[in-house]
């Protein structure tokens, strides 16, 4: 039976998220989902399948419901389970934490369910999206069963086994696997077909689960409130269920083995039967440990690895039974950290198991931490731990994989140790995000896996930038199962798809001697050698690498493929890798092209087929020449940077961050600001070039630049004496700036080349109307010149803030931005708003930033965009969580208010006349006039702020002087709090996912609180950061992830909700539609002494638009009435006016016409045209209704 099953098993090359989703989908009736990395793709698959009408195992289409948070999803899971439905969800990290209260309930009620977790680190001093077991370990107390899979194959298998077991034993299961390392790793796996699942999941157990559901036909009460007399006993009543669970899991595993031939145990031991040293661990590290153990055994070492599958309920007996009696020393590795504990969780459980169940003399036991936040875990590290066990008194509570030079817990690792067999072909491919490299590699893996029967593995590393990011594909092919769950360290083939990488980092460190280097070279095979950096030339010669080059970017353009070099480079890969006969590989590529592009038109097919031939024709060996090229600086001009930048930032930029030791890092997560300026990324092909003759100096380009790379300054013309020859300048046109010179300067090396500036420029060259005052030109020839110009520009004085009339964009934009060069997408619609806020208020601004795009481009290392001005002042920024940002920001406000209140109290006390008012009494520490000035200061404009700062400086001088003679402790306290007397501008910034969904409860509370806070909602109408999932801000009729069939409900009117409180300033703005309105709203919101909400329409890559036209899309949203411009200012009531002013005109463009310009709306027409027409009609009616409502509200007498 087993043999038959195996012979007919279908194989697929997929990642673990898909493997798990394929099983979970078929075994569920209700799926409550919420996006969170790295679990999101499971929910996305489920949503897409449900939208396509794919049935589950019982023939019905599961309902897939996105909730407002993971807490909401858990509530739905709990409720659906109580109704007797087979229910699941997918989550990770903070999402799992939000589910914990429900997990206690679900487990307490003995409810069969499986929750699939792509395990991920928890945010502590920093957020990490990467994998470790911190999240799952936080659920240990819930009573859920915890089962861990270690590979893609196991993840799919355990999804099924856990479902069988939960129905049998009635404990809910958390099935987890390592985020990214397993969730995103591609392997060829055996699929479970419906027949397998039907046999594995006994129908009577399903019926029993359903029968336990609540029903008014047989009512029961669950969730009672119990008194001390009963509650304890009730908790103990679950004991038999818990105790029986391990056996139920083993039974399910055995049943599964009988069906599929793949056998698992609660604790799987792999290694020498007479092993003396054994490693115990969970998750993907088991695979690397197994590979290492095999290699060490081949050398005669007596070692083994115990893979923990079922972590809860814990079975000490099963663990002890699984270990060979010969064990003398055990090392337990935990992929998490519990500071201050007696040891990490798995260690403590193993310790307890040995204590309770080991027969005879117990082996030595030590615990250690490894692999936190996807830190690499390599065979060398496994060996280091096993070697360490040879010591008589091995170090306990060690770490492996890092250099702990602070507390000296880390084990030394010999990085030279390698276990990979020569029969495994390994390739590392470096590409630029979106250039098709990753997609091509995924295709290659599938083709090779399907055609050759070779085992395959693909793992993809991305960086933290959303534009111009580097992707690194790690590909393995071999005749034996691949257990290498670590990055390739030695490769036969290195491919570099982007020439500039050769300058940026050490590509060839991983090249095996005699290997191959494949280059996408703009210089062709003949011109390549002399342009290679010298160190690369030396490595090529030292390692005797064959170098092959192709100018794929040029060929792709010539073939009409645009920037897509994927087919060309994929063909080159097949030609050079030699893992399958070339002709066979080429046929497979051609078949894939016909399959992928078949219905997209003959030209697209023909161009890609031509690319295959062109690649074969144009790929040429690069002849070696003499070592000659001068080495270029490795990364950016960091020479002028502070030492901490060179020590902390530079290694990260060179992709050598793993080498930083513990002592190099701040323990509390505080990092210096303004580091993005050091990372000269040079990612733009073209940059804007200013034409002073045509320019009208409106500064719209400065306003909209998402990366703050276009700046304007007005300055004394005498300063031009020192300007570089190519520096451009003209006379300032604004009469307020009469007599000054004006320059617009571009930071060429920081520009992303998005083109928004050109699109927004209103000035055309009258004689050559295709040109504007700003025109794109190739960056490379301008790079050096503009670097000097930028440096000169930076040292020109900043504008006098007090002299600017902030009502006008052209003057306001002379303010220095304190948010620059972020990692946001090219053409981002969010960042111009943030930048504007920093220009206006940055020097007194404190930002609470909700997790999401803005926290990622705003706070991701290696470099960050929030910066300070010349006086060292700038926005102080912090990110708490996704769900609590409003509360977090309110905490800022309350804290600052208290500090200020204390300072003011001390000011009053210390400025009061001493003694009893006698003439001989000593003068007060603070002159009364100064105190009076500080206490009554008008800080409503820049001049007021400036004067208050002057007073604060005077106060500090006074206090410092006075403290020489006076020991009153209040002096020191006031000195410490003096800066709090300057207005603090508290901002809560986040996206619509935060404000409309997960954080709405807190936001709503802040509306009602009446505290002076400013809330900036960057409304992209989807969860942008996780790839475009529907939020309640998503407009009707838009297709989004989790709304593949189009969103049927109208967008939530958050502004209207806020207005109902009466005390909230609300503005709805769209910079692309009316920039001065945006500016006015920001100024009003900040000046309003209560809660202010700014809803800022932010075009987004997830809308499916040409990002260069983002501002036009904003205008269309307003012109079609889909987005209204308005300001609701309660202060107007005092003047007897309606608080609401609608600032946009009645809709002038039919909604359908505007919607047709964005792919998110068009997609529905392409998939379900009738539904699209219905929703478009309904949306148009909504627009009319909403317009009428707002008109009425605006006209209302107060």
């Amino acid at each position: 039976m087993t043999t038959t099953a195996l012979a007919t098993t279908a194989l697929a090359t997929i990642d673990a998220n898909e493997a798990v989703a394929r099983v979970a989908y078929r075994l569920s009736e209700v799926m409550a989902i919420y996006p969170i990395t790295p679990a999101t793709p499971m929910g996305e698959s489920a949503d897409a399948w449900a939208a396509a009408g794919r049935p589950n195992l019982w023939g019905t289409v599961p309902v897939v419901e996105e909730m407002q948070s993971e807490a909401g999803a858990a509530g739905v899971v709990h409720g659906a389970l109580q109704s007797g439905a087979l229910t699941t969800t997918f989550t990770a990290s903070q999402g799992l934490l939000l589910m914990i209260p429900n997990l206690y309930k679900i487990a307490g009620e003995l409810t069969a369910a499986v929750i699939h977790v792509a395990s991920r680190a928890l945010a502590t001093s920093a957020l990490s999206i990467f994998g470790d077991h911190s999240d799952v370990m936080a659920t240990r107390g819930t009573g859920c069963a915890l089962i861990s899979s270690a590979s893609v194959q196991e993840a799919g298998d355990f999804a099924a086994i856990a479902t069988a077991a939960t129905l049998q034993c009635r404990l809910p299961f958390l099935h987890w696997f390592d985020g990214f390392r397993t969730s995103h790793e591609i392997q060829r796996v055996a699929l479970l077909d419906d027949g397998d699942l039907r046999q594995l999941i006994p129908q009577p157990l399903v019926e029993a689960h359903r029968a336990r559901g609540l029903s008014p036909d047989r009512p029961v009460l669950r969730g009672t409130s119990q008194n001390p007399d009963l509650a304890f006993q009730a908790r103990e009543a679950v004991n038999p269920t818990t105790e029986a669970a391990p056996a139920a899991v083993q039974a399910a595993m055995d049943h599964f083995a009988a069906l599929t031939g793949r056998a698992y145990r609660l604790f799987d031991y792999h290694g020498a039967a007479d092993a003396e040293r054994v490693l115990v661990l969970m998750g993907s590290g088991c695979e690397t440990a197994q590979e290492t153990v095999d290699a060490l055994m081949a050398r005669g070492e007596r070692v083994g690895v115990l893979k923990v599958r079922l972590f809860r309920p814990w079975s000490s007996e099963a663990l002890v039974a699984a270990l060979p009696n010969s064990v003398r020393a055990l090392a337990v590795l935990d992929r998490c950290k519990e500071p201050g504990s007696g040891g990490e969780p798995l260690y403590l459980d193993v310790l307890n198991a040995l204590h309770e169940a080991w027969p005879g003399e117990r082996p030595t036991l030590v615990g250690g931490r490894y692999g936190l936040a996807s830190k690499e875990f390599t065979p060398a590290m496994v060996k280091a731990v096993l070697d360490h066990l040879k010591q008589d008194a091995p170090l306990n509570h060690f770490t492996v994989g890092i250099d702990d030079d602070l507390t000296h817990h880390s084990l030394p690792v010999d990085g030279r140790f390698d276990t990979e067999a020569d029969t495994v072909f390994r390739a590392i491919v470096y590409g630029l995000g979106s250039d098709g490299t990753v997609g091509a590699n995924k295709n290659a893996i599938k083709i090779i896996g399907d055609a050759t029967g070779l085992e395959v593995q693909g793992y993809f590393v991305y960086d933290s930038k959303k534009s111009g990011s580097v992707t690194v594909s790690h590909l393995r092919f071999g005749p034996q199962p691949i257990h290498s769950t670590y990055l390739i360290r030695r490769a036969q083939l290195i491919a570099c798809h982007h020439w500039d990488f050769l300058d940026s980092f050490e590509l060839l460190d991983a090249a095996l001697p005699g290997g191959t280097l494949l280059l996408n070279s703009p210089w062709g095979a003949e011109g390549t050698w002399e342009r290679l950096p010298e160190r690369v030339q030396r490595q090529i010669i030292a390692k005797d690498l064959a170098v092959q080059a192709i100018d794929a970017s040029r060929l792709a353009r010539e073939l009409g493929l645009g920037p897509a070099i994927n087919t060309l480079m994929q063909t080159c890969f097949f030609a050079l890798a030699g893992v399958m006969p070339l002709e066979q590989g080429l046929e497979a590529i051609r078949a894939a092209i016909r399959h992928s592009y078949g219905r997209k038109g003959e030209r697209i097919v023909a161009a890609n087929l031509a690319a295959v031939d062109a690649a074969l024709r144009e790929l040429k060996p690069v002849p070696r020449g003499p070592i000659q090229a001068a080495d270029r600086p490795p990364v950016g001009p960091l020479a002028g940077a502070a030492s901490w930048v060179r020590e902390l930032i530079q290694p990260q930029l060179e992709r050598q961050g793993d080498r930083l030791s513990v002592s190099a890092l701040p323990a509390d997560g505080s990092f210096p600001c303004g580091t993005a300026r050091w990372e000269k990324r040079n990612i733009a092909e073209s940059i804007p070039v200013w034409d002073p003759e045509v320019c009208v100096q409106c500064a719209k380009c400065v306003l909209v630049c998402p990366h703050a790379v276009i700046r304007a300054k007005a300055y004394d013309p005498a300063l031009l004496a020192a300007a570089p020859a190519s520096f451009r300048s003209t006379n300032a046109r604004d009469h307020h700036l009469a007599g000054q010179a004006f320059s617009l300067q571009v930071a060429a090396e920081d520009c992303t080349g998005c083109g928004l500036c050109v699109e927004v420029c209103p000035a055309r060259n009258r004689t050559e109307p295709r040109l504007k005052a700003i025109n794109m030109a190739p960056q490379r020839p301008l790079r050096e010149q503009e670097r000097s110009n930028w440096d000169f520009f930076l040292q020109l004085p900043e504008a006098d803030r007090q002299a600017l009339d902030l009502r006008h964009i052209n003057q306001q934009q002379l303010q220095q931005p304190l948010f620059e060069f972020s990692g946001a997408c090219a053409g981002c619609g969010e960042t111009p708003y943030i930048k504007l806020a920093t220009q206006l208020f940055g020097d007194r601004m404190v930002v609470a930033n909700a997790t999401g795009c803005s926290s990622i481009y705003g706070g991701s290392l290696p470099t960050t965009p929030w910066s300070a001005n010349g006086e060292g002042r700038g926005p102080a920024w912090s990110n708490s969580l996704f769900e609590d940002n409003a509360e977090f920001g309110l905490g800022f406000r309350l804290g600052f208010d208290q500090r200020k209140a204390t300072a003011e109290r001390l000011l009053r006390e210390l400025s009061a006349p001493g003694g009893n008012g006698e003439a001989s009494a000593p003068p007060p520490a603070v002159p009364p006039a100064l105190a009076e000035g500080l206490l009554t200061a008008d800080q409503s404009d820049e001049a007021g702020i400036f004067e208050q700062r002057q007073r604060v400086e005077a106060l500090k001088r006074q206090l410092n002087a006075h403290s020489q003679a006076d020991t009153d402790p209040r002096l020191a306290t006031l000195l410490n709090l003096a800066d709090d007397l300057v207005k603090r501008s508290v901002w809560m910034i986040g996206g619509d996912g935060w404000a409309y969904d997960i954080g709405f409860g807190g936001l709503d509370h802040v509306f009602a609180s009446d505290h002076d806070v400013n809330i900036l909602v960057l409304d992209t109408e989807v969860y942008s950061n996780t790839g475009g999932q529907m939020s309640k801000a998503t407009p009707m009729g838009a297709v989004a992830k989790f709304a593949s069939g189009g969103k049927p409900a109208a967008k939530k009117d958050l502004g209207l909700i806020a207005m109902t409180y009466g005390n909230v300033y609300v503005a709805s703005v769209a910079m692309g539609a009316k920039d001065e309105h945006t500016l006015r709203a920001f100024l009003e919101a900040e000046s309003y002494p209560g809660p202010s909400l700014i809803l800022a329409y932010s075009h987004c890559i997830a809308h499916g638009i040409d990002m260069a036209k983002g501002l036009q899309q904003q205008r269309l949203a307003v012109d079609s009435g889909r987005w209204l411009l308005y300001r609701h200012d309660p202060r107007r009531l005092e003047r007897g006016e309606s608080p609401l002013v609608v600032d946009s005109r009645a809709p002038t463009v039919p909604l359908a016409e505007a919607m047709a310009t964005e792919n998110r709306f068009r997609m529905l027409g392409m998939s379900q045209p009738e539904r699209s027409r219905e929703l478009t009609r309904a949306a148009q009616e909504n627009v009319a209704r909403r317009w009428d409502l707002y008109q009425r509200l605006a006209e209302q007498e107060p």
């Binding site: 990395t37 999101t40 793709p41 996305e44 698959s45 897409a48 939208a51 396509a52 999206i129 990214f180 995103h184 995000g433 979106s434 098709g436 490299t437 990753v438 997609g439 993809f460 991305y462 930038k465 959303k466 534009s467 990011s469 992707t471 897509a564 219905r599 997209k600 038109g601 003959e602 030209r603 697209i604 055309r764 009258r766 109307p769 997408c825 990622i856 942008s1024 950061n1025 996780t1026 790839g1027 475009g1028 297709v1039 989004a1040 992830k1041 989790f1042 709304a1043 593949s1044 890559i1101 997830a1102 499916g1104 990002m1107 792919n1159 998110r1160 997609m1163 027409g1165 392409m1166 998939s1167 379900q1168 045209p1169 027409r1173």
Partner: protein, 338 residues
């Protein structure tokens, strides 16, 4: 009025009247509009054109949005959901044909539009299978390459008709531009290549410019009664000279316009601009005006009328050629400011 027989035929399809809705997306892209058109008396509808180049562009755009920004950041490996664009391009058009056939009983004609030879024949075959009653080939091109001789373009157009004609049994109409050097010769070639009818004429989008912002303005203009003259003249010139059936397109505003076109030899008149201006009810008005004119002039059917004013049969055949121009302009000199 009801005794008057408005029946005619076009490309072998019997029609209840000569009032046919011409190809235009706002009129026929939404299948819910088709019953409305039929109710108001459309004898047939030519569906909006499938622009073959647009199909390719749509796919490229689809592909672009699928890929744009993807595989770049670990949290957002894509930005678009996995949706099957089953209605994109040709597939969508075929489904529109099928939906249209289900919704209305009147003949549904398809329209193909393109610049290059491409895969016209393949698309035509699919359209035939989807159940279109006939096919109109919209030969749309504004050649600007100074090295490209007109003869080459003409040969290409004929080759397209030939390729489609060989691929399908569907009756074919050609909707050419009026800008051939010798339209009569082209018409003969289209006929030889397999065309059964000629729709005169294809209108090109003529952009405008904004002299303040220095931008091109798409600003499409609807046709007016003045646009009737070109089809009127050319139908009159071609009627009876070839076996091709003739149809008029452009400038039909009133029932008497229909009468004029029928008189010069049109079998049908395609209506678009006046429907966009006045709504679907205008069809019934045209029909009523046509009936009223016929009745007032003692006609009981269209047969008696058709072609009576063609060049072949008109009392002044030379008036359709060139002298008319001089005389007509000459009249200005005796009026107004002159």
């Amino acid at each position: 009025m009801s005794r008057i027989d408005l029946r005619t035929s076009w490309l072998g399809l019997p029609l209840a009247s000569p009032l046919v809705v011409g190809a235009c997306a706002p009129l026929s892209a939404d299948p819910e509009r088709l019953p409305l058109l039929a109710e108001h008396g459309a004898a047939a509808v030519v569906l909006h054109s499938l622009f073959l180049e647009q199909v390719e562009r749509d796919w490229l755009e689809w592909e672009h949005h699928q890929q744009h920004g993807s595989q770049s950041h670990p949290e957002s490996l894509s930005y678009q959901p996995s949706v099957d664009p089953a209605h994109l391009g040709l597939d969508g058009y075929l489904q529109e044909i099928e939906t249209a056939r289900r919704r209305v009983d009147i003949p549904i004609l398809a329209s193909l539009n393109g610049l290059r030879p491409g895969h016209w024949a393949e698309a035509a075959r699919a359209i035939e299978q989807a159940g279109a009653s006939a096919l109109e080939l919209n030969l749309y091109s504004v050649p600007t390459d100074p090295r490209l001789p007109g003869a080459e373009i003409e040969a290409q157009h004929v080759a397209i008709v030939h390729a489609v004609g060989a691929a399908v049994a569907l009756p074919l109409a050609i909707k050419p531009s009026s800008s051939y050097t010798n339209l009569a010769h082209m018409a003969a070639q289209f006929q030889a290549a397999g065309a059964r009818g000629l729709v005169l004429f294809n209108r090109f989008y003529q952009p405008d410019i904004d002299i303040e912002t220095l931008e091109i303005r798409p600003n499409p203009l609807l046709s007016t009664a003045a646009d009737l003259r070109a089809p009127l003249r050319w139908i009159a010139l071609l009627e009876g000279r070839l076996e091709l059936e003739l149809a008029a397109s452009g400038g039909v505003e009133s029932g008497t316009d229909v009468v004029r076109l029928l008189m010069v030899g049109a079998r049908i008149t395609q209506v678009v601009s006046s429907l966009l201006r006045h709504g679907p009810g205008h069809l019934r008005q045209l029909e009523n005006e046509l009936r009223a004119w016929l009745e007032a002039h003692g006609h009981s059917s269209l047969k008696e009328l058709r072609g009576c004013m063609s060049q072949r049969r008109s009392p002044d055949p030379e008036e359709f050629e060139r002298a008319q121009y001089m005389r007509a302009l000459g009249s200005y000199a005796q009026q107004g400011p002159w």
